[in-house]
Structures are given as C-alpha cells and as structure tokens.
C-alpha cells in the first residue's frame, strides 16, 4: 500500500515561487533605500549601546524574583548582537530594560555614550525600537497605513514626515503602500501581519533595533523574508540586537553574541568555536551553528566558517 512514484503536480494558477518574488521586492526596495539613504534616509545609521551592571527583579506575590543580574556589555554603532539563552533566561526582560519600558534597580543603560539622566537621553531612547514576540498582537488600526503611522504620530512628527516614514517602512518590509496601505491588518496573512508589525516599529526610524524572537511561529517563507529584511537593515548600519532560539539564524545575521543564563551573562563578544563554547551553548539548551559544525567535521579552519548556506556552497563547490 505504500505508494511508489509521484503524481505530477496540478497545472493551473500556480504562483511564481513566492519566496523569490518577495526577495526580489525587498531587494529592489532596499536598493532604493540605499540610494535615498543620504537624503531623507529611510534607514538611519546606528546607535551605540553600553550596559553596566544592569539588575532588575519581578515581584511575584511577596517575593522579588531576580530576572537579570549585573548584566554588562557593549555594542558599537552598527553592530549586530545575538542574544541567546534558554526560555526564562531574561532575554525579554533585558530588551525591555534597554528600551526603557522598565527602569533597572541597579546599573545603567547608556545610549550613544549618554548616561540616563544625561542631556538628550529621552530623545535617544525614542530612537530605540523594540519588536515584541508575536508582534501581530499589537495590530489594531483599520488599515495597514494607520497602524504603521501609530508610532510616528506618537513621536509628534508632522503629517508629512509621518507619511514618508510609513511609506518607507512598508516598502522595507515588502508590503508596498499602494498595494497594502488600505488593507485591513486582520485580513492579511500571518506572515504579512508579522512584517506589518515590524514596519510599525521601523517607521519610527530606530537607530537601535531590538527584536524579541522575531522568527517564532513563522512559516518558512516569511522566515526567509524576515532574515533578508534584517540583513538589509544591518547593511544599512542600524545597530541590531536579536534575541532568538534559532542559533543558525543568529549565526547568519549577527557578528557578536551574548549568552544569558538565569539572568546572568555567561559569555559575550565574538563567536567562539571551541569545545568550551559549544558546551556552554548546549548547557543553555542551544547548540553550535550547523555550518560551524559542518566546517569542524570537514576539518576546515573554523575562522573561515561560512555564515550562510550560500557562502558554504561557494566554498564547497
């Protein structure tokens, strides 16, 4: 009864490989973005970040549960950091502290070298964007355009500036305004909603972009699209912190890494590939990036380990 052979796929209205189509859109948009970067600049250059001894606890009933303790690290402007760690390690808490949704009990988050309380700090804080997990939860407006405009309007920009920001953001995420601007957010597919929510944050022109598990609950097509969008943002110089469980995507997108274990920094800085480093990842319910393991088992120099499948194929072909 186990069928052999395959039946031919049905002909008919078959969409062109949608991943390629989306990739093409994003590429074109990004190229336009790069050209316009000098002027209105849809994508601003990055902000530097420094955390010193950041500590924060939650109240649970009568107890204070420490969420992050004495977290310190630095990220230069335009840098890209993968924030790794098991569930409950404190990644979300840390990102929310950097964004300023909570104030640390101890320690500080310096933005572009400015300390909290320093001159211009509130303005800098407004240039930090945070994309929550399952960001589709934040969609509420009757049209995509209106929802994306929410953030910029809160920043009290002129209507012109808001319109430009909305348009640019929608282009960036592959949901061009002429096609998607009037659509109702809830009528969009899951992947489109995810990208729309991202646009809502990008419209605020963040120079430091924080993403909390942006790839979770995503279909493979949108995952690829999102990875490309983040890649373009990184290329354009935005500082990025990516909290994720997906070690392979973290390896592809981020130059540096930080492992958070029970609220404490267990490792940070450039990626390391020794047995100790791998051990640390495994202990935190993660693993070594597949491409690094591949290089290791092929006996090749780990310093040349490829970041993406394309790079690997280049080297192997």
């Amino acid at each position: 009864m186990k069928g052999a052979g395959r039946k031919a796929g049905r002909a008919g209205a078959q969409p062109v490989d949608s991943a390629d189509a989306a990739a093409a859109t994003v590429t074109a948009a990004a190229a336009a973005a790069a050209v316009g970067a000098a002027a209105a600049g849809p994508v601003p250059a990055g902000m530097s970040l420094a955390c010193h001894g950041v500590t924060f606890s939650y109240e649970e009933g009568r107890e204070a549960v420490p969420a992050v303790r004495d977290v310190g690290f630095e990220l230069a402007a335009g840098g890209s950091l993968a924030l790794l760690g098991a569930s409950g390690a404190g990644k979300s808490t840390l990102l929310q502290l950097v964004r300023g949704l909570d104030e640390p009990e101890a320690g500080a988050v310096d933005l572009d070298g400015v300390e909290p309380g320093g001159e211009g700090y509130p303005a800098l804080r407004r240039e930090v964007g945070l994309v929550f997990q399952i960001p589709e939860l934040q969609l509420f407006a009757p049209s995509a355009r209106e929802d994306v405009a929410f953030g910029p309007r809160r920043l009290r920009w002129s209507e012109e500036r808001v319109a430009e920001a909305v348009s640019a953001a929608l282009e960036l995420v592959g949901l061009p305004e002429d096609k998607f601007g009037d659509r109702h957010p809830y009528a969009l597919s899951g992947g489109e909603q995810r990208r729309l929510a991202l646009a809502g944050v990008l419209a605020m022109k963040p120079r430091l972009l924080l993403l909390d598990e942006p790839f979770v609950s995503l279909d493979p097509v949108t995952r690829r699209q999102l990875a490309e969008i983040l890649g373009r943002l990184k290329d354009a110089g935005v500082t990025i912190i990516l909290a994720t469980h997906d070690v392979d995507l973290a390896w592809a997108l981020c130059d540096e890494m930080l492992v958070l274990c029970d609220g404490v920094v267990a490792a940070s800085g450039a990626w390391e590939h020794g047995a100790a480093a791998t051990d640390l990842l495994v202990r935190n319910r993660l693993r070594e990036p597949q491409l690094v393991e591949l290089w290791r088992r092929l006996g090749r120099d780990l310093a040349t380990a490829p970041r993406t499948a394309a790079e690997a194929a280049e080297a192997l072909a």
């Binding site: 009864m1 069928g3 490989d17 493979p220 097509v221 995952r223 597949q290 591949l294």
Partner: protein, 277 residues
C-alpha cells in the same frame, strides 16, 4: 488485506466566498499503524484537511470519504468520526479548557459520559504516559509551550482513538518544546494508531512511512520520503522549511554542483560530500 482506516478519494472543499478550492480532488489513504506526513506551504489546504479528517467540517464533495468506518459525508458519520479520529491543533493555549491539567485530560471522557471511576483511571494512565504526573494539578497558564501541547495531546488521546491527525503541533514552540512533542509523537507509532502528521518543516518528516505533499489544495507528491527529497525543484516550489544543511545542498545545486542525494542531516551532507570527492 484490511481496509484503510482513512480512505479519502476526490475530496473537495471550498470556503464560503473563496475564489478557489481549499482542497481539490484530493486522494488519501492511511492504514492502521501507518505514519503519513503531509507537507505543504500556507494555503495548501493542510489545516482544512485536518478538520475534514476529524469530522469537524463537512466536505463539499467526495467520491469516498471514510474515516474509521464512518462516512464523513453524513452528519452522523462525522459525529462518530470525532470519537475515533483525534485532532491536535497548532496553538497549545487554545486547546486547554479546564483549570487543571488532570481535569482537562478528563474533558473528552466527561463528554462521552464515562463513569467517574473509569475517567479517573484513564486520566492517571494518560498522566503517566505523557510524563505529566507532577503537573496534574497545575494551571495551564503556568505551563511551558511544550508542556501545554503534551497536555493537550494527552487530552486528545484520553479518548481511545484509532487515528490521530496532528496539525503543525510544533509550529508555535521553542526548540525545547518541539523536542518534547516530537518525542511524544514518535511514541504514538508503537500504539498502532494511524497517524497523519502535518507540518511545514522538512526535518519533522524523517521518520514517516510516507509523505504527501500538498500544493494549492491538490497532491503534488505521494510516496517515500527519500523520493520527495530527491526532487530539489519540487522541494523549492513547496516552500518548506529546510534545515541549513539542506539549504547548502540547494545552493550547491544552484551553482551547478548538485549532490548525489538530498541531505537533511549533517551526517547525510558529509556523506554526500564524501561521495562527491
């Protein structure tokens, strides 16, 4: 030869007001103790199929639609099918109804009017089988994603079933939760149930006896798992999630250096590369 547990031929379904069929002329048979993986991108009709197989939706048309001996084209047949065919859905949170895990597991049996003593016995059995004993009085919102999905699975299987359909059960879980649920699913094979496992991730179909690929509501492939992987163009067209090593193979094929076999694991890739050089 015994009749297949799930026997579908020429299945059609279209959502009200939709411009095209969600399922078009689909055939599917699954035997007792057979593990069939169904793969397809969003919009390929996977979830619709899950609901139809579970007797939760009325087919628009079919030459034959029988699940565990019940005719899915009739109302009573569908109601009866719900008893023999279990369905596990994607969102763990939205499947747990009761305030504690043990009560949720009991829900299905309470609906069937089982005597309390029998319910208690069966609940204990399920708690043990799915490693949930410590969580029996736990409230759902305090469970991790993987735990919730395991509890939901226990709740579905508390009713003795002959077949089970799992609709992307790991899609919303983190790697730890995914491993949790996959382990539980693997254990199902030993029970003799017919299993239909729906997913978009290629690395989850590895242990299947057979894989069916859906594209636009119709079958694009049905056969051995290896056969699907051998067809690089099809795999790309289906827009499935590939582990990095498979992407490497795809990229190599794009550069005119295809590998002899399509790898899903690092070992397979290394073997392929070894063969090549």
């Amino acid at each position: 030869m015994t009749a297949p547990l799930l026997d579908i031929s020429g299945l059609h379904y279209r959502y009200p007001g939709a411009r095209s069929d969600a399922l078009a002329d689909l055939d599917l048979t699954v035997d007792e103790a057979e593990f069939v993986a169904v793969v397809g991108a969003n919009g390929s009709g996977k979830s619709t199929l899950a609901r139809l197989l579970g007797g939760l939706e009325r087919p628009a048309a079919a030459r034959r639609a029988v699940a565990c001996g019940h005719d899915l084209l009739s109302g009573e047949g569908r109601l009866a099918a719900r008893r023999d065919v279990g369905v596990l859905f994607q969102n763990p949170e939205n499947q747990l109804v009761a305030e504690h895990v043990e009560e949720d597991i009991a829900f299905g049996l309470e609906n069937l009017g089982w005597p309390s003593a029998d319910i208690r016995r069966r609940v204990d059995e399920m708690l043990a089988r799915f490693d949930l004993e410590d969580l029996r009085r736990r409230e759902p919102h305090l469970l991790s994603g993987g735990q919730k999905q395991r509890a939901a699975l226990a709740g579905v299987l508390a009713i003795p079933r002959r077949a089970i359909v799992l609709d992307e059960p790991t899609a919303m879980l983190d790697p730890a939760g995914r491993a949790d649920v996959l382990a539980a699913v693997v254990a199902l094979r030993a029970e003799g149930l017919a299993v239909v496992y729906i997913t978009q991730e290629m690395d989850e179909v590895m242990g299947a006896d057979r894989v069916v690929a859906l594209e636009g509501g119709s079958e694009a492939y049905s056969g051995e798992v290896d056969g699907l992987f051998a067809d690089g163009a099809l795999v790309r067209r289906l827009n499935l999630g590939l582990p990095v090593v498979a992407e490497v193979a795809q990229e190599m094929a794009r550069r005119g250096r295809p590998l002899p076999t399509f790898p899903l694991t690092l070992d397979a890739l290394l073997a392929s590369l070894g063969e090549r050089s």
